[in-house]
Symmetry: C2
């Protein structure tokens, strides 16, 4: 198909080494030779074959990003940042969707382990420590979100316990006493859901409020329908909640929908807090109070750490804890007046 270095060399009447020198902009090429080579390149429409270059260098210039699904805005926004950060360093990003099952087969088959990528940023979810440890032996790895086991690989996350505690404290500070939690998951022992639940419980304990298991509703996935269904369950309780801490914004937006459809007012009757700070929550009615992780910083840290590993850094696993901040908006702001959308 395309022309190769050899073709260019032949046309320019020089060796491939010289063409390579010109292409890679090494000095020590005479101006005359350089322009002759340039001409040949233009004439043939030559562009370097990156696959060959990668084979030679022993790397592909591509990193993988394994996420549950792009359909969850938090991950889409994060992917956006990761791609941008990688591009700044002239790396490309291959995205793998794990469907939240963290299915080993998928990861294995999808190139993560087949040396087509030089490193992997992975949101682990259902993957266990053992599997990840094995993966790390093959491939530089950066974990996103939550530590799966002690010192498995580099990690970038926010302090989820503190974040959850602050969110719950904020609701308690509003004077609410029946504070529910939506998003519990029993899948893995160290998952994000568990640490968020822990922060929730700490806040309740500090406020001297008894933990009521009825107020903690699991969510199979973290989409709006799950939040909506969980909220319906909570509304069916004899003593329903007056506030809800949702483990992500999508669950919160689903819960919000259920509340409004049931004729309840938010925050007057039930206040809501989410996590992620996705754009949706800044334009919903009411707007959504949320814990905002610094996604740009998370993405940059992940890419930086991964490339350091790809470049041979041999150090014990590192942890970057990115900052987060509670964004108070209408869904917990009882001062603002109520409005009627329909």
């Amino acid at each position: 198909m395309g022309a190769s270095l050899k073709d260019v060399a032949k046309l320019a009447g020089v060796s491939v080494k010289t063409v390579s020198n010109v292409v890679n902009e090494y000095r020590h090429v005479s101006a005359a030779t350089r322009s002759r080579v340039r001409e040949a390149i233009d004439q043939l429409g030559y562009r370097p074959n990156l696959t060959a270059r990668h084979l030679r260098y022993g790397r592909s210039g591509i990193i993988g990003l394994a996420l549950p699904e792009l359909g969850i805005p938090y991950f889409a926004e994060l992917a956006e940042e990761v791609i941008a950060a990688a591009e700044r360093e002239s790396w490309s990003v291959l995205i793998d969707q794990t469907d939240g099952r963290g299915d080993r087969e998928r990861l294995t088959s999808s190139g993560a382990r087949s040396r087509t990528i030089d490193g992997l940023i992975i949101s682990p979810l259902a993957l266990d420590a053992e599997f990840l440890t094995a993966m790390r032996a093959d491939l530089p790895l950066v974990l996103l979100g939550e530590q799966v086991g002690p010192g498995i690989a580099d990690l970038v996350a926010i302090d989820n316990v503190t974040a959850a505690r602050e969110a719950t404290e904020h609701l308690l500070g509003l004077g609410r006493r029946r504070v529910a939690a939506i998003g519990d998951q029993r899948v893995s022992a160290a998952g994000t859901a568990n640490v968020r639940l822990q922060g929730y419980r700490e806040a309740l304990a500090a406020a001297g409020i008894a933990y009521d298991p009825d107020l903690v509703v699991p969510a199979e996935s973290y989409h709006r329908p799950d939040g909506a269904a969980a909220m319906r369950l909570l509304l069916s309780l004899a003593d329903p909640p007056d506030a809800v801490f949702c483990f992500n914004d999508l669950l919160a937006l689903g819960a919000l929908r259920t509340l409004l459809a049931a004729g309840l007012r938010v925050p007057a009757d039930v206040a809501i807090v989410g996590v992620d700070d996705i754009e949706d929550g800044r334009f919903s009615t009411p707007t959504l109070t949320t814990v905002a992780p610094d996604k740009t910083q998370i993405a940059e840290a992940a890419v930086t750490m991964l490339l350091e590993r790809v470049n041979g850094l041999d150090a014990p696993p590192r942890e970057v804890i990115a900052p987060h901040a509670l964004q108070v908006r209408e869904s917990t702001n009882t001062v603002a007046g109520a409005r009627c959308p329909m």
Copy 2:
């Protein structure tokens, strides 16, 4: 780093050809040899180097997907489907974000033109026919969304004129007479915005309603803030609209926010229709009436057509028009009762 075919061959005491035969599961390998090779593979932890294989085959097994940004849910959902469709065919997807500027530099540098991908699915936006024609000479191309010029490359899209006409007719059918449009763009002559505007105008004309340029508001990008700002502009008119057709759901959700914040009721005072059918609109309050393109079909058609080209199909540019359907929800349903969210 990892073991190569040669290492395995040496350990198993056979030639590399034989190892290759085993790895690729060719028949005609004696059971004894096969198991000896298998053992060596396990022992060395051998996995094939895809880069080398790709060099040999002259292709990378990777296709590119160039989108404005993953932060726009429609594109994130589409990317999700494209990745899934590609994976079914054992292809990987490299995502490029063009930032809506369709910037040539980015595309050029980001691998699209550097032979690291075997084909490209691209949402063209600001790219002109000339540039795309030049690209197609290098690389199999499938255009997403809108035809940029006559017969430039394979295209998959919905019938945007009809979709826009139907959306507008739906609003007119509600008895609205001041129907605004948000999302006009002057960038390219054949862009999606223009065909949607055309459908809008056709519907007005068919209903015998004069076209009022004051009711058509441009949007620089298609995010919620743009819709919110455009709606504020419309509300400042002496004779504000009683309905709005937004060129995508994000604009519609932004407009919705402005209306509710201004104390207006939707749809009682102003009815709204969007395009894209993103998940947000199914859970907003009120839920959003929208034109739903069949994203799965769009993604599958794009991947199928691209792979056909990658496999050498030499045919004139083809067009796939995917189905769409108007999803009527609360934002235009004047029959449903009004509820008060806050």
